[in-house]
Symmetry: C14
Subunit: 89 residues, 14 copies
């Protein structure tokens, strides 16, 4: 069934690319935070709070993609009939 092939590819594409980009984004933010704490250790508290807010926002972008991937794999209304078709083939 071609639909299932498409949906697994699409799910893998979404989560793979989103993890790639958000990973690099968190790496950039973390890099900045590390440099900031080393430069000004007394501001470590404020930096940590903002870093966590920022990382959480970036994480949320990746979770959107994860949600879409999960929908493609389990919730999409065409999954049921497609699997049934495959089974009864």
């Amino acid at each position: 069934m071609e639909f299932l092939v498409g949906s697994v590819w699409a799910a893998a594409f979404a989560i793979g690319v989103a993890a790639f980009g958000c990973g690099i984004a968190q790496g950039l933010g973390l890099n900045g935070a590390m440099a900031g704490i080393a430069r000004n250790p007394e501001a470590a508290g404020k930096i940590q709070v903002n870093m966590l807010i920022g990382l959480a926002l970036i994480e949320s972008l990746c979770i959107y993609a994860l949600v879409v991937a999960m929908i493609l794999l389990f919730v999409h209304p065409a999954i049921g009939p497609a699997v049934a078709t495959l089974g009864g083939h």
Copy 2:
């Protein structure tokens, strides 16, 4: 049904690429904010406010793509007939 394959791919492409780009964008903004707080901790309040405004605007771009992905998966007027076709195949 080829239409369903296209719509799941398109949804995954939209959310994946948008999450990639917006993630890197938030990473850049977060990087700048971290560096800014470390450099000038007394301005942390102003920086935090503007950082949140900026991150929210970037988040909104990704949410546009999420909305389009959701429309492609659930709201598009051709989804219903296509699933029905698949089921009654």
Copy 3:
């Protein structure tokens, strides 16, 4: 119907790529604004005003793409007949 596949792909491409680019653009602008406020906190008001003008202009570019995507999905004159064809298939 191949037309519908094309239109959903095109809508996803437009919004995905535009969100990617505009997101990075807003990230660059935000980065500059963060650095600017940290460097010169008294200019924070002017910087914030100009940052919002700039981010709004960038946002507008992405909204153009969103409008085109919406037109492709709902307003385009060939959508109606195509869906009808699919339903009556």
Copy 4:
């Protein structure tokens, strides 16, 4: 009808890629303007004026692409017959 597929793809490509590039361009300009105001707040007026001129010129490039996309979707002389063909299929 293959022509319609081509025209929606082309419209999406034009607006997507143009929004991508012009967005990054506006981000670069905005970045420079933010850094400039922070460095020299008394020149904020001149910088703002020139920034708006520049952003408007960049915006105009994207609007050219938007115009081409709209022509492809609604004004092109082959749209009418193609939709008619699709409807009477």
Copy 5:
């Protein structure tokens, strides 16, 4: 008609890619001009004049592409017969 598909794609490619490149170019120029005015506000007049000359030259490159796109869509001698063929199909 395959020719029409090719011409709309070509027009969209030309205007999209040209807008992308010229947009980034104007962003680079604008960035330099912003930094220049901030560094040396008394030279703002000279900078503005040269910036406008440069931006106009870059704009002209994009307008060449727009002209080619318009020729492809409306003036090309094969458009008429192709549309006629499509209509009388």
Copy 6:
């Protein structure tokens, strides 16, 4: 069975690309942490704590992709019928 080919490719794509991106991200963060400790050894404790938080968040992104890959390989509802089809071929 084409579905199995698609699922193994998709799993490999997801984990490969995510490991690529998250690896570079951890490298960036580690780079920043190394530079930070060398610059300000007394802040090593704070830097280490935040580095671990950041690396864990990046690791989580890659684990999302690993989970999706595992689902594609073992949990997806269409795997069973597909393998059965292959066996009884």
Copy 7:
């Protein structure tokens, strides 16, 4: 007629890519000129003269591509027969 498709694509490719590259080139030159005038306003005259020479040379490269595009669209000896073939189809 496949030849016409090829020629419109080729014309669009030539002008699009050349405008992209020359645009960025003019942006680089303009950037340097802006920075130069800001740094040394008394040399503005010499800089302006050389900038115009350089921009004109870059413009000439793009005009070569425009000439080739125009030749492909109107002057190429195979255009006439191809259009005639299309018309008499």
Copy 8:
């Protein structure tokens, strides 16, 4: 058997791309550690500990991909039937 081709390609893709990315990541981290030790040799102990933690985390990402590759080559439930099919061909 197309499935086996897909699985060997997928395994090679996963390990190749992951080794590429994680290698560069470890190179970045190592680069930072080398610079750090040279700058502040007394902090060499702390830097070494953190470097090893970071490198181990990056190594773990690549090992995930190696595990997926091994699963694709030896553990996947469709390998057995596929090899049997090939043998009895």
Copy 9:
């Protein structure tokens, strides 16, 4: 006739890519010259002479490509028979 399609594409590729690269090259050279004159206005004469030599050499590279494009369009010994074939089709 496939040969004509190939030759127009090849001509457009040669001139487009060469204009792209030589344009950026001239932009780099111009950028350096602008910065040089601003830094040391008394050396403007020597810089201008060498800049013109360099730009002319870069221009010559692009003209080689233009010559090849013209040969492909008008001088190549297979053009005549190919156009004749098209006309007598």
Copy 10:
């Protein structure tokens, strides 16, 4: 036999890409170590030890890929039947 083609390609891809990435990674690390020894020759011992640890870890990534390539070429359970098939063709 298509399977053998796939396995040799996959082995070459894995080792080629992994050697590319790990090579650049070792180059980065080596670059940092060279700079570090030149900057602080007394720390050469510590730097050398850590450099060797790091290079060994990067080498291990490439060896994973080499192992996978060797498995694909000699150990994979489908190699035997495939070669036999080819021989008895």
Copy 11:
């Protein structure tokens, strides 16, 4: 005749890509020379001599490609029969 298509494409590829790369190379060299003369005008003679040697060597690389392109278009032993075949078709 497919051979002629291949040879024109190959000639255009060779000259286009070589002009691209050598152009950028000459731009880099020219950039360095401009900066060098501006920094140390008394060394302008030595710089000019070496610049011309270097540019000539780079030019020679592009001329190799031009020679290959010319061979492909006029000297290759299979051109004659191929054109004859086309003419006598």
Copy 12:
């Protein structure tokens, strides 16, 4: 015989890409070593020793790829039958 085509391509890919990457890696290391010796000539001995260790490790990566390429061309168990098949064709 398609297998032989695949194996020669694979061998060329492996050695080409690996030489590309390892070459750049050695260039980076060499660059660092040159800068290091110029900065601190008394450390030239230590730098030379470490440079040779590093270059040898990078060379080893490329030799892995060379070994794989040689295996693909001469040792692979399917080469013999494939060549025999070609000869007896």
Copy 13:
């Protein structure tokens, strides 16, 4: 004859890509030499000697590719039969 198409493409690819890379390499070397002479004119002799050694080595790489291209076009043992086949077609 497909073999001839392949050989001309391969020759053009080899010389084009090699000229591209070696050109950029010579540009980098030339750039460094220009900067070096400007910085330290008394060392111009040593720099010139080493520059020529380096440029000659880079040139040799491109000449290897030129030799391979010439072999592909004139010396390869399959050229003769292939041209004969084409002529006697």
Copy 14:
């Protein structure tokens, strides 16, 4: 004969890509050596020796690829039968 096409392409790919990468690598090394001699002319002897060692190692990588290309063109055991097949076709 498809095998010969593959082998010429593979030889050209190997030598072209390897020359590209090794060329850039030698350019990087040469750049560093030039800068080093200019900075510290008394170390020119040591720098020259190490530069030659490094360039020779990089050259060796490209020669590996050249050897593989030559094997593909003249030594590979399938060349003889393939050429014979072509000749006796």
